[in-house]
Every structure is written in C-alpha cells, then in structure tokens.
C-alpha cells in the first residue's frame, strides 16, 4: 500500500520554515513541557 505519497528530503525541508507554530490540538502537558519542549519557543508564542 506504500508508494503513493513519497517525499524526498529536499522537498520536505522546504516546509520547515513556514511551519513553526504549535501543531493543531497539541496538548502542552507538564511532563513534557519540562524536558521536551523548546522553552524559547514556548515564550516566543506567549504560552
């Protein structure tokens, strides 16, 4: 079933800059906020 939606690395990288906001329906939980999330980004978004 695989094969229809193949994307090369170069193509995927073109989407890197425009997609910097938190993803839809993303839950910022305490257990990951401390160790996993980029705190500079958290403050940048005023969250």
């Amino acid at each position: 079933d695989s094969g229809d939606r193949k994307y090369t690395r170069d193509f995927l990288l073109t989407f890197r800059e425009p997609n910097r906001e938190f993803p839809p329906n993303f839950e910022i939980r305490h257990d990951i906020a401390e160790l996993l999330l980029d705190k500079d980004r958290l403050f940048a978004d005023g969250m």
């Binding site: 995927l12 990288l13 993803p23």
Partner: protein, 192 residues
C-alpha cells in the same frame, strides 16, 4: 481513516502513514521502577505541515537530558517489544561519530525521520519506527522493523539507511527476541 480523507487538510501534504511521537522521561524511569512506565505519546501527525510544527517546537536530541528516549512510530504501534507489530522484529542501530559532536546526532535523527515519513525506504512496510536514545556514554538512533526473519528486507533497509545518513561504519541488526533471551550477550543477526 487515511490521512487523505481528512477534509480540512486537502491543501496540506498528507503522509502515506500517520505517525506518533513518544517521549520516555528518564526522571520518570527513576521514580517508577517498571521499564516503560514513563513512556507517553506526545503527538500524532498526518501531514508534512503537522510534522514540522511538532519538530520545530521540541528540543533537538542534543538538548535532551541524558537517559531520554524520543520515538517516532507509525500510529497504532507502541515502541515496545511487546507490541504485536514489533514482537517478531528487531532493530538497526547507528551511533553518531563522537568526532562530529552533538550536531551529528541531530542531523542523523532529522534525516532518519524525513526518510521514514517521506517513504524513501523501498521496504517501508517493514518499518515500525525510529528512536533516538540520549546517553552520556554513547548516543544511539535505531530503526525498528517488523519481520526479523526476512533478511532481504532488513538488509535492504540497513543499506538504504546508511545512504540516508551518509554512514561509513558498520551497521548491525539485533533481533528483539535475541536481545530478550541473551540480554547484553546478544549478537547482531545481520550487518551491512
């Protein structure tokens, strides 16, 4: 539900598979002796755009604390030996060169993720997911696959992964069942 069937996302770029990021918090591991009890899903994404929104807001592996594991697995597959899709599988493991510093770890991780979600592996159906393990002694990245007995498929994935990473060292494939039975004495089943 296939990613393409989500009407709000017609203008986005759907991925062939949906994927889930999982985080295993080393602090939680110390508090709760049972392995895996601190393993938690973080986010499931269906499109190229959602992938970057998550990736751009989490720390690079080089910034994670020692002991952390960050996983990206196909949605519906838990990053555990016990998951039915993983039970008869194994993993290829790559260690970034120490000379490259932590930057090599971040690059390896990103290039591995992009190759997986972009379906760049010919035997992509065999892939369960990938995990980056941040350790003081030696950081590691592994790709987990489904059918350890299918040597041709595993060797194909191993060789392609070497190309993706531009990796010059030998890569080894460890079967989960061997690792369970022999612990640290387990030997790699395949090498590329």
């Amino acid at each position: 539900e296939k990613p393409a069937d989500r009407p709000a996302e017609v203008k986005k770029h759907p991925l062939e598979h949906s994927w889930t990021f999982w985080f295993d918090n080393p602090n939680g591991k110390q508090k709760q002796a049972t392995w895996g009890s601190s393993l938690r899903p973080v986010y499931t994404f269906h499109t190229v755009e959602e992938f970057w929104c998550l990736y751009n807001n989490v720390l690079q592996p080089s910034k994670l604390i020692a002991g952390a594991d960050f996983h990206c697995f196909k949605a519906g597959i838990e990053p555990k030996w016990e998951d039915p899709k993983c039970a008869y599988g194994g993993k290829w493991t790559a260690s970034p060169p120490r000379s490259g510093g932590k930057a090599a770890l971040d690059t390896y991780w990103l290039h591995t993720l992009l190759a997986m979600i972009g379906e760049q592996f010919e035997e992509g159906d065999e892939i369960c997911g990938a995990v980056v393990s941040v350790r003081r002694a030696q950081d590691k990245i592994a790709i987990w696959t489904k059918t350890a007995s299918n040597e041709a498929a595993q060797v194909s994935i191993g060789k392609q992964w070497k190309d993706v990473l531009d990796y010059n060292e030998k890569l080894g494939y460890l079967v989960h069942e061997d690792a369970k039975r022999q612990d640290k004495g387990a030997k790699n089943r395949y090498n590329v």
